[in-house]
Symmetry: D2
Subunit: 338 residues, 4 copies
C-alpha cells in the first residue's frame, strides 16, 4: 500500500502515518519527492485498507499495490485450472458450448431441446427453472417441477445440466436433483450470502458477471466462493451496461484476455443475453471464441416464436447447428477444438 501525502504535509503528519503502518507490524518506506512525500507499507498489505489512512490529516490518498483477490489469482496458481463436470472438461483445449432454452417450459419442449442440443454436438445443456424477472407479473419459472423435467430430458442424452440458483434456501433441492453446474446469475454476483453457500459445496459454479461489475469486483466475488473451499469456479461474461441503447448490453470481449491473465480459472461467454437478439448471436459467439473464451452459453429453442421468455434471443435448431460449424473453424485457427 502506498500513502501519498499532501503537498504541505508536516513531519508530524508523516510520522503519524508511519506509526499507523508499524502498528500493524508492517515496515514503512518514506520517499520524499519534490512535490509529494510518498509512504510505502512493506509487508502483508492486505491487513490495511485505504480508508484507514485517508482520514488522517495530511494524507491526499492511499491505495493498494497488490490485488485483493488471492486464491483465484494467477499468481497463486500459474497454470490454467480445468474444471471437470463429470467427464467433460471446461478450461482445456476443447471449447464447450452449453446450449438450451431460456426457461424450462414443458417436458416435450425439454425433450426436443435436449435432442437438438445433443445432435449439434454439445455436452452440457442450459435451462432455467427459477427465473429472475424484472416484473413480478411475468412468468417466474416452473421451479422444482422444472428441475425434474430438465434432469429427465438431459439424462436421456447424457447431457450435464446448468441451471440458475437464486436463493440459498433452494440449494438442497438443487443437490437433490444433482444439478451438475450451478449458475449464479448477474443480479446475484454480489449476493454474498449465496456465494458463501455455494462456497461450501464442491459442485462447479458458473459465476456470471454483474451487469455493471468491474473485473476486480467480479474476481472478489469469486474469491468469496473460493474462500469457502470450492475452487470449481467458471467466470461468465454476459454483456455489460453502458450508455448505448441500440442493443441491450455490450458484450465485453476485452475482459476475456484480461481475465485469462489475472486468473487461472476458465472464462465463458453468454452472447445471447449480451446482444438480446438472435440475429446478433452468431457474430458475437464467433468473436468470443476468437478472443479466447473457454466456452459459450447459447440460447436455442425448438421453436423460438413460442418460447415463454426471451423469445427473440433464442436460435432455432438449424441456426444453432450452423453456428456450431463456424465455431469449429474459429477454434481450429487458434489451436483448439469444439
Amino acid at each position: 500500500m502506498i500513502i501519498v501525502m499532501n503537498n504541505g504535509a508536516t513531519e508530524e503528519q508523516i510520522e503519524t502515518v508511519v506509526a499507523k503502518i508499524r502498528s500493524f507490524d508492517l515496515d514503512a518506506n518514506v520517499s520524499r519527492g519534490t512535490e509529494r512525500t510518498v509512504i510505502g507499507a512493506i509487508g502483508n498489505e492486505r491487513k490495511l485498507s485505504p480508508e484507514m489512512f485517508d482520514t488522517l490529516s495530511g494524507v491526499e490518498y492511499s491505495m493498494h499495490i497488490v490485488k485483493q483477490y488471492k486464491i483465484v489469482s494467477r499468481e497463486w496458481h500459474r497454470d490454467n485450472s480445468i474444471i471437470n463436470v463429470g467427464d467433460v472438461a471446461i478450461g482445456g483445449d476443447q471449447v464447450q458450448v452449453i446450449g438450451g432454452p431460456c426457461s424450462v417450459e414443458t417436458q416435450e419442449q425439454m425433450d426436443s431441446a435436449a435432442q437438438h442440443v445433443s445432435d449439434a454436438g454439445c455436452r452440457l445443456m442450459r435451462g432455467g427453472a427459477f427465473k429472475p424477472r424484472t416484473s413480478p407479473y411475468t412468468f417466474q419459472g416452473n421451479g422444482e417441477e422444472g428441475l425434474k423435467m430438465f434432469r429427465k430430458a438431459a439424462d436421456k442424452h447424457n447431457l450435464r445440466i446448468v441451471t440458475e440458483l437464486m436463493d440459498a434456501r433452494m440449494l438442497d433441492t438443487f443437490l437433490e436433483y444433482d444439478v451438475d453446474v450451478i449458475q449464479i446469475g448477474t443480479r446475484s454476483m454480489q449476493n454474498f450470502e449465496l456465494l458463501k453457500e455455494v462456497g461450501r459445496i464442491n459442485k462447479p459454479v458458473i459465476l456470471k458477471r454483474g451487469m455493471s461489475a468491474t473485473v476486480s469486483e467480479w474476481l472478489m466475488a469469486a474469491e468469496y466462493i473460493a474462500a469457502g473451499g470450492n475452487h470449481n469456479i467458471i467466470f461468465c461474461e454476459r454483456g455489460i451496461r453502458t450508455f448505448e441503447t441500440a442493443y441491450r448490453n455490450v458484450m465485453d470481449v476485452t475482459c476475456i484476455p484480461v481475465l485469462k491473465k489475472e486468473t487461472h480459472l476458465p472464462v465463458i461467454v453468454d452472447p445471447s443475453h449480451a446482444g438480446g437478439k438472435a440475429w446478433m448471436v452468431p457474430a458475437l459467439a464467433r468473436a468470443a471464441v476468437a478472443a479466447g473464451a473457454d466456452g459459450l452459453l447459447v440460447e436455442t429453442h425448438p421453436n423460438p416464436c413460442e418460447a415463454w421468455c426471451d423469445a427473440d434471443q433464442a436460435l432455432n435448431p438449424e441456426e444453432f447447428r450452423d453456428l456450431m460449424g463456424s465455431l469449429q473453424g474459429i477454434a481450429a485457427v487458434i489451436g483448439r477444438s469444439l
Copy 2:
C-alpha cells in the same frame, strides 16, 4: 403497445400481428404511414410483451406505451403517501435525517452515537449489523449481537432504527429485535426472493437503488414488494456508477423530481455513500434537500478515524450538527421543516 413494421412488410405479416393481438382479447389499430405501418394494441397491454412480436417476420420493433409498474405509480395513487414509523412520518412536510455509523461496532460506540444523533435532532438512526463487503477477508458485521446493541442504544434515546437485511433467512431475527425500518441494500435491489419476503410483512422498507439500476427497474423492484401487500416503501438514491473515477459514485439528484412525478412514495438520499468522502457530504446533503428529497441517510460516527468501516465518509458529531443547521435553512426555503 405499438408494433412498428418493417418498411416492406406484407399484408400477410400485418395480419399475423393483428391476429396475435386479438388472440389476447385486445383490439388492434392499424395506421399505414408513408414509410412504416404502425399497429397499436388496444386494451390491457400488460398481458403482452415486446418479445412476443419481435420474433414475427416483418416486425421492426415493438414497445409498451404504458409503464409496467402499477401499485407504486402516481397514476394509481395521486396523493403523496406518508409512511409512518411509529409516530415519525416520512414523506410529509418534515424532512427526516437518519444519522448513524456505517456499522455497529461496540455498545459504547452505539450509545455515544445514539446520543449525538439524538442531540442533533434526528428521530431515526442508522447502523449496519450485517455488512455486504466486496472482500471476504474484511469485517462482515457483528450480526445478531449488533442488532441487540443497536436496539438497546436507540431505545435509550427514543430513536427508531434502520438496518440492512441481506438474507431472507434473517428476517425472523429482524422481527424479533423489532427493527423499525428494514433496509434493502444496493446489491439486493434485484434480489427478487428477498423482495418477495419483505413484501409479506408490514414493516416500512427502504429500497436502495441498485448502483446501476435505471429508475424503471427500481420502480419495478418496489412493485415486487408492493405486489406482496406491503406498500410501506421508501426509495433511497445512493449514487450511481458512471465512467467518472474522481469520486466513488455520482449522486443522481435528477432522479428526485422524476421519482416524485412517477410515484406517490417517499424518496430519500444517502449522500455519504454517493460521494464516499466526508468532506463532500454537506454539499451533497444540501443539494438533495434542495431538490426535494423527503429525507437523508447520513453517516456520522463518534470518532470517524477509528470507525471499523468506511471511516473516510463519516461526519464527526460537530460536522453533523453543523450540517443539520444548514439543512434546516434549505428546508425552510422550499416550505418544509427538519
Copy 3:
C-alpha cells in the same frame, strides 16, 4: 511517478527502470516489499509518462502521483479566482444566473427575452447563434446575423452576452461583436485547436464539460486554454451521460465540491441541458446552488412552445422569475447573494 514491478521482477529489470528514471535527471527510490518492488521517481515527474515504463519488461504498471494540470490547480493558486465580465464578477459571493433562450431566433424574440431576463435580476444573458445539432437537417442557428440581434437586444438592457463558438474561423467575428463570454460547448471540450485559439485572447471562456468527460480530462482541457495565457476560465457542468434513459443526462452535483477543491476557478451549472425538461429545472437549479455552484446557465424563452429548438426545456418568464426567488433563499442559507 511510481512504477510497480511484477512479483518475480529481476534485479536487472529493476536496474533498467532506475536507469530510465535517471536518464530524465530524476532520482529513484526503490522500495522492496514482500510481494512487489515499488520504484518512485523523485523530481519533476511531469517529464515522464506511464507508457514509457509499461513497455519495459518486469513492470506491472506505473502511475503519476501528482496531477497533470498545473495553472488551473488550486495548488498553483490557493485563493478563489474571480472572473470579471465588465463589472460583473463570477466566482465571488454573488451567484450569477445567466438566463436566455436556446437559440437566437428573431430580433423581437431577443428583445422580449432580454427584457424578462433583465427584469428577473440577471446581469448576463445566454443565446446561441451557432448551434451544434445532432442532425444536419435541423436548424443550425442564425449565425452572424444572430450575433448582431443578440448584441442589440442585450445592450438595451445592459446585459453581458454569452454565446457558443464552434469553429476557430469564427473567432474574429465574435471579437467584432464584442461577445463578452465565449462558450465552448460540450462537444468541443477536447477540440484542442479551438482551445488553443481561445487561449490566445483575454475574453472570459465558459468551458462546458464534455458529456462523458472525467473531471481530470476537463481540468486538462482548461489547462490548454490557460497554457496559452488566458486564465479567465469558468467551468460549466451540464449533465453527464450514464446508463439511465428516463432523462437526457444526469446533472453531476458531486463535481461541484470536487472542482472547488481541485481548482481556484469558478464553477457554474446548466440545469436545463442536464435534465432536458423544463419541469425538472427548478429542482436541479436549487440543488446546484445548494451544492456551491458559482452560477447557473438557465434556458428561458418568452414563449417556450414556439421556440425553434429545445422547446421543452425552456422556462417561461413567470417560471423563471419564481425560480430566481427560491434561489435567492438558498444562496442566503449558505452565505451568498444572487
Copy 4:
C-alpha cells in the same frame, strides 16, 4: 412520429395535437386505448421533432418511428457499398488491415515501419502527424513535416496513407500531400463544422466513433458528411467508455453486426486504442474480424519501447506478422480473405 397522451388528456388537447400535425401537411391517426390515447403522424415525419409536441399540454411523450439518418442507411441503399482507395477496396470480401505507428516521428522510423507493414501484407498504412493529446504539455505531432515524411515512406512501398485531420484549416495541406484516407478522430466525431468540410471533398473518410457516442449519433455524424455529397465513409469502432477501469476502453463488437444491418457502408475496428495494451491486441483483432469487421487499424512500430506516444499499445514487427497469420485463418472461416 407517435404522440402518447396523458391518462386524463381532454378532447381539446387531442385536437390541438392533431391540428399541429396537420399544420405540417401530415395526416393524423388517433388510437384511443383503455389507458392512453396514441396519435400517429402520417407522412414525412422528419419535418417534426418530439420537442414540438412535448410542450403541449396533455402530452406524455412523443417519439420518432423512423430513423433520422437517410443517405447512410441501408434502407436508402440495400447493397454493401465498397469504398475504393485507389485500387484497394474497403467493404468487399477482402479484409483490410491498416498498420502503422501511432505518430510520425522520423523519416527513418517511417521508412522502417512502411517496410514491415508492407512485408506483412498490408495495402494501407496509418500514422499521425497531428496528434490530439489530453495534455498541452506532451508531444503534439510533427505537423506538415510529418505528412511529408509519411507520404515519402509510403510511396516507396506503394502503400495508401491514412492520417487524422483535426482542424478544417489544415484540409488544403492534406489535399496537397494527397492523403488517401482522411481520419476523423474520436474527439471530432461531433465537430460538425469539420464534418461539413470533409463532406465537400471526395476523399474517403474514416469516421471514428466518439468514445461515448451512441450508434445513432455516429450514423447522424456520418449523415453530415454524406449530406455534403461525400459518400465515401468508413465507420471505425475504437472502444467505448464504460465504468470499467481495468482497461482503457471496451471494444464494442456488438456494434459490428448492428451497423452492418443499419448501414451499407464499411465498418472497421481499431483494437489498439480499444484495449490500450499491446498484449490485448491479438485477441481483440481476431474477435473483430470474427464478428464481421471489414478491416482493422492496428498500431505497430519498428521498436515499440522507443515510440514517442502510446508505446505500450504498439505491436512489434514480429507480433504484427504473427497476428496477420491468424487473421487470415479467421477471415477464411467466414468466407473472406485478407
